[in-house]
Symmetry: C3
């Protein structure tokens, strides 16, 4: 922990609309526990890799999402997401939420019908700083986030991995077990935009995807990008507010 | 599996109103797992006995309940109800559902904001074909299905078996344990019709009854028939759509 | 059990508004199981100590809360609250509920769309009669019961005990663990009245408090009284209907 962490006057961040922080932390905590938030002049950002090195989470809450965004000097706020999630669960929709640093802790103040303060410890995160990999995708799909979540949950009743693919201009989500199969087809329409001429197909862990798709409660749309036997990018974005992106390694079967 | 099972063009059944299939399969799967549906020109029918030989389920979904009902030749569709239930759980109220046979599987297609296909295996059911027993009842009661469900749940907090009886023209549902008793009385009124002059009484397993009474979500009324120490028939019926009937063996105590 | 318990004509108590009995018994059953209700000309009363001698419950359901309140002679009705709770769970808002004594049992009759009777055993309670201790408090707070319940639940995410205190005219609810802290401040306003000049502070078990604060569903307001390292009194009251009071021993830490 750098010395700058010990001073309390570096940042004061106030949210009136707490949903984006609250829901995002709940989702991310299911993938990674100990994280570093980079608090800069423009945004609160997090890049983290899950312990099994299968999934990366990139989260950005923009300064413009805050009612008050006062960052005197860039800083790192490293916390256990379960600590943060417990506090955020106590936030009511009508509360305003303020985050500050105090006594080497993150202080969260909720103001509603009473004033409620929570102090949670800052931690040391050993892990090296993550970098978003440079990826090139041959297929991209934009659709309703609910439609994609439903498709993954459909696939989940059959198999442990899900195939995403383009076939004849359709986006196909499928899974199979020894004897059963699920296959969901999306075509281009007013809600769905499919790009990528080739036939591509790649397989991913349904367990990880199931945690990611709960972000449909954060954003009405999702952008899905992939290539043949290549990582998947799933991105939920609200302009001027937040961006929650997941990168998931492909699952390469020997069969 | 007979050779006719291998052909895919025998049947195409489409439901716009999926509730009767979805809810019925959910209820039946709690009593029996491996079943044979007889698909005939008029209806999809199932007669099954639970593994303990205590309860029989008779389910009929009439051709007139379907938006499209195309059965070229009578056939048997044997499936594991848990497989079918998993798929049916994914049906949304606005989906249309089509069932076909394909590659020795049951293919279920859901059409809503996307097209979703599920293939589940057809199975061999060793059990011999069940026949509905010929029963004569001395007591019959028709009432609101919610009222009967509540009465059984009332009895459930006290004992493991429930007595159904007629006493002085009342329908009496009762249970007892060493020290406690429950007794529910229904009298003839605008919602309840009680027939059977005699005083009759018979005891049944509450565990089985509790699974059957969840059919109150399918039909507003229930017909209950029994005799002294004799099987019970509980029937939920929607004219021109479906009929879900249970027969439950009496419980004869030695005390 | 005294001889008077065996007669059935001592009391007939009918409730049209069943909520106060139903919800109170549900809450009390989480603290103490075997209880004696004293049924007198004016009220049904209960004073009970939890098995660990940490918490006392005092419950009074006034005669004026009943639609019919006919008590010919004072009597004691001792029951297992889990038995009573199971029956009360079956009460629907539209039911009227009648309590009588019959065959050395408590008979509860529910009348709605059917007539439902439950008999539960009267029991022997060995424990000596409890007396409400004479307590003098230096701090009293009246506030919305929801606000107090929220504050205790806020404290619960951090620690196992909660401190209640007055500081500079504020009511402060706080808890801490090795590294985290929660602190909720209430000030006097139109909903909250704080009395007691001194700085006082006392610590209580959050486990017990969590069971007590569920009484916020019974009454909109709560009265909280305490002193330095002294028992806590939490009282939920509806004029002319009921009074549910808890007394909780302080938690004295060695640290």
């Amino acid at each position: 922990m750098s010395e700058t962490m010990l001073q309390g006057d570096h940042m004061k961040l106030t949210l009136a609309e707490t949903k984006f922080l609250k829901e995002s932390v709940g989702i991310i905590a299911d993938i990674v526990t100990e994280v570093r938030f980079n608090v800069t002049a423009n945004a609160v950002e997090l890049i983290a890799m899950d312990p099994a090195n299968v999934a990366m989470v990139v989260f950005k809450l923009l300064g413009s999402a805050f009612a008050e965004y006062d960052v005197k000097k860039d800083c790192v706020v490293a916390v256990n997401l379960n600590d943060l999630k417990s506090v955020l669960r106590r936030v009511k929709p009508s509360d305003t939420l303020t985050m500050e640093l105090e006594e080497n802790k993150l202080k969260i103040t909720l103001k509603g019908s009473s004033k409620r303060e929570f102090l949670i410890p800052l931690i040391d995160v050993d892990e090296k700083e993550q970098k978003i990999p440079d990826l090139n995708f041959t297929a991209t799909v934009q659709t309703h986030s609910d439609v994609f979540s439903d498709a993954v949950e459909d696939a989940d009743i059959i198999g442990e991995s899900v195939s995403l693919g383009l076939e004849n201009g359709m986006f196909v989500i499928s899974s199979s077990s020894d004897l059963s199969k699920a296959r969901i087809e999306l075509t281009t329409d007013e809600n769905t935009k499919i790009e990528g001429a080739e036939t591509v197909r790649s397989k991913y862990s349904i367990e990880y995807l199931k945690r990611m798709i709960t972000a449909n409660k954060l954003a009405p749309n999702v952008a899905i990008s992939f290539s043949q036997d290549y990582p998947l990018k799933v991105e939920y974005k609200i302009v001027d507010k937040m961006d929650l992106m997941f990168i998931l390694a492909p699952r390469v079967d020997n069969d």
